[in-house]
Amino acid sequence: MTAAPLLSVTDLRVAFRASGGTVPAVKGVSFAIAKGETLALVGESGSGKSVTALSILQLLPYPMACHPAGSSIRFNGVEMVGADERTLRGVRGNRVAMIFQEPMTSLNPLHSIERQINETLFLHKGLSTSAARARTLELLRLVGLPDPEKRLSAYPHELSGGQRQRVMIAMALANEPDLLIADEPTTALDVTIQAQILELLKDLQRRFGMALLLITHDLGVVRKMADRVCVMNGGEIVEQAAVADLFIRPQHPYTQKLLSAEPRGNPLTPPDNAAEVMAADQVKVHFPIKKGLLRRTVDHVRAVDGVSVSVRQGHTVGVVGESGSGKTTLGLALLRLHASAGAIRFDGTDIQGWSAKRLRPLRRQMQVVFQDPYGSLSPRLSVGQIIGEGLSIHKMGDQAERDRMVARALGEVGLDPACRDRYPHEFSGGQRQRVAIARALVLKPKFIVLDEPTSALDMSVQAQIVDLLRDIQARHNLAYLFISHDLRVVRALSSHVMVMKDGKVVEQGPTQRIFEEPREDYTRALLAAALNLEAVKPQAVRG
C-alpha cells in the first residue's frame, strides 16, 4: 500500500429509509485501494457489498438512501459523499468506471454498440464523430470482440452474453479510468465465458495499471483475481487480508465458515445392479422453425437431440452443460412435462404418449425441484398448503394424516414443522429450496429431477442443500437426475455424469473417470474453466 491510496473509504454507513425508520445496509466500512491494486469485496447476498460499491459513485437511490454523518469516500483526495452533481459527473464513467452483473439489462437495447460506447467519449472527451468511431473500434479490438467493424452497428440482443460483457468492459475502459468497479461481472455467464472475461480483465488491468474493485460471492474468482480481500457480512467488513493469507489462515469465524462452505463429500455408492427407475432412449425435443407464407416448417431447433439416459434406484446421474445445452429441457421431457419423441420408460413401462389423466397416478412417483426457489413456490399459498397440495391431489390420507405427513416432510428437510402456516416470502432462499424439496419428498417419489437446485443459493447454503439431498437419497433410496452447470456440486453428488452440448451428449461415464481423465476437448475445456477458472482456446467453446 502506498501512502496516498487512490480510493479510501472510511467508516462508510448507508441506511435506507423505510416506513417507520431507517434500515442500515452498511455499518461502518473502511478500506482503501492503491493504484493498480485489485481488492475483492466478498460476501453472501444481503451482505451490503453492492451497496458499498454503488455508494462510491453515489449511485444509490437518494434520498431513499442516506449516509449518516462520519461516512467518507475519498477518491484522489476528493470527497465523494455529498459532492455536487458536477463533481460526480466528472468522475463517473471517466476516472471511475463500473460494470454490472447482468450485461443484457445494463446495455440500452435500443442503441447500437457504437452509439453506446461513443456516448462516454462525447461526454468526457468531446471527441468528433470520426475520432470517436476510431477509438470505439480500438476499444472493441482491445476487449477481444471478434469482427469489431461488423459489430459496430449491432444491437445488444444480437450479441451473446459474453460478447455483451465485453462491450460493457469496452465502455468502461473508454476513458482509461483509474478505478474499475466490477459488480459480479461474471455471475450471469457460463463457466467457460467467465474464465475468458476474468482473463481479459486481468490483462487489461496490467496494461493500463488500473485499480480494480471486484465484488463477488465466488471465492474461486477471488483467489484467481484479487491481491487483497475484504470479507463482508451483515453490512460490516469482518476480515481484511491479503489473498494468500486469507485462504491459508482465515481469522474470523465467518470467513472460516465461508471457506469451508464449498460443496464437499462424495456421492453414495449404491449397488450397480439396482433396479432401473427411469430410462430414456433417443429422446428428442425439436422446436420447428416456420418460414414463408404458409408457415411451413423449414428446420428444427434441436433442443435435445437423441439423448439416452438411465437412472437406477439410489443412483444420481449428473447432467452438466452450459446454458442452451438442453439439459433442463431433457429433465422436463423425462417427466413428460415437455412434449418429446423417443421412448421414456418409468419403472419398466413406456410412458411416452400417455394422456395427462393416465399419467396422473405416476406423477406421485416422479418429482422435480427447480432452480429458482423464489419462482417455484406459489407466493399466495402458505408453506403447509404448498407441500400438502400433492397429497390432496393424489388423495393420500385424510386431513389429519396429511397434516402429519406435511409436518414430517418439513422436519425431514430441517425446517420447524410449526412454520407451515407461514408464506414463502418469509423464508430465505435456502429455506425456500428446502420447502420445494419437502414438496417433492412428501409424496414419497422414486425419482426426482433436480434442476440446478443450488445455483440460486449462497455458497454456504449450497453446501447444506447438497448434504441434505445426499442424506435424503440414502434414507429413501431415491434416484436423482441432477442438472447443473456447477461441476463442484455435481462431483459431490453424482455417481455418473453426462456432459451435454447443443442438445447432444458429448461424453458420459462414471464421475471419477470424467473428472480425472476427460476424453473430449469440450469436457476438458469445461473442467478447466469451472475448476481452475482457466480460459481455453475459443474454438472449443462458444465465444
Binding site: 435506507f16 445496509a25 438512501a65 422436463l332 412435462l337 406423477r363 427447480f370 419462482g375 406459489s378 400433492g390
Partner: protein
Amino acid sequence: MKLTPITRRRLANFRANRRGFWSFWIFLVLFLLSLGAEFIANDKPLVIRYDQTLYWPVFNAYPETTFGGEFETETDYRDPFVRDLIEAKGWMVWAPIRYSYRTINYNLPVPAPAPPSADNWLGTDDQGRDVVARLIYGFRISVLFGLALTGFSSVIGVMAGAVQGYFGGLTDLLFQRFIEIWQGLPTLFLLIILASVVTPTFWWLLGLLLLFSWTSLVHVVRAEFLRARNLDYVRAARALGANDVTIMVRHVLPNAMVATLTFMPFILNGSITTLTALDFLGFGLPPGSPSLGELLAQGKANLQAPWLGLTAFFVLALMLSLLIFIGEAVRDAFDPRKTTAALSNQQG
C-alpha cells in the same frame, strides 16, 4: 384475518394517495346514503302514529280508510285532507325531502320545469318532479347498475382470459380473432335495435350491455396467464399431477387478480357512462325511472331551465371523478415499484 405484509403495504400505498383515499370515503358515504334513498326522499311519511297505533308507510301500503278516509286505494299522504285527518288523531314523521322520484308536485307556482325554491331545492323537471329526489334515486341506480355490470363482465372476462392465456396456441388464436370481430360490431346500433324488440328493464339492459362489455378484461388476464403458465411454480404444480382447473384457480388466478382489481374502478366508470348515454338517447331504463341520463336529456330539451342540465352535469362529473381518483389510488396500491425500489437495491 391476518394481513400479509403485501396487503399491508398495499393498504399503506392506498392511504398515501390522499386524494384517492378521501374520494373513496366520500363515494362510500354517498353510495350508502343513496342506498337508503327511501328514507331521505319519499312522498310517504316514515312513521305515523294514529289512534294509539304505529304505522310504517315506507314498508306497508295502507288504504285511506285506515285513517278515516273514503277511498279503498292506498293513502295519498300529501293530500291536505288526509294530512288533517291523521294529524287530528296523532302525528307523522316525514323524510327530509317530501318527494319520491315519481311524485309530481301539482302545487307549482309556475309551469314546470320550476326553478329551485324552498320546496324543491333544485327545482323540478318538465313533468313537475323534484330534481333532488330524482338525483338521489338516479345516483343509486347508476352505481348499482355499474357495479353489477362490472362484476358480471369481470367474472366472464377473467374466465375467458384465463382459458385463452392458459391453453394458448390454437384456442388462444381462435378466441382472439372472435373477440376482435365481436368488438368490431357497432354496439350502440345493436343496442338500439334490441331495445326496440324488447322492453328494456334493468336486467334486460344489464344483459345486453354485458354481451359487449365482458371483453374489456380479457386482454389483461390473458397476458397474465400467458406469463404465469411458464413459471416454475406452475410447472411444479403440473409435476405434482394437479389438473388444469386447479392450477388456473389456485396458482395463476391470484396473480391475475391484481391486474383485474386495478382495472375495476375504470370499468365501473365506463359502465355508468354507457348507461347514462343510453338513457340520454332514450334507449335506456323504462320511462319514469330516475336516471341521470334522462335528466341530461331534459336539460338539453329545456335550455331555459339551466338547473336541470347543470345539476345532472355536476353530479355526473363528481361521481365519475371520484371513481377515477379511487382508481388511481388502487393502481398505486398494486404498483409493485412503489416503496419497494429501495428495498430491492439493498440486496447484493
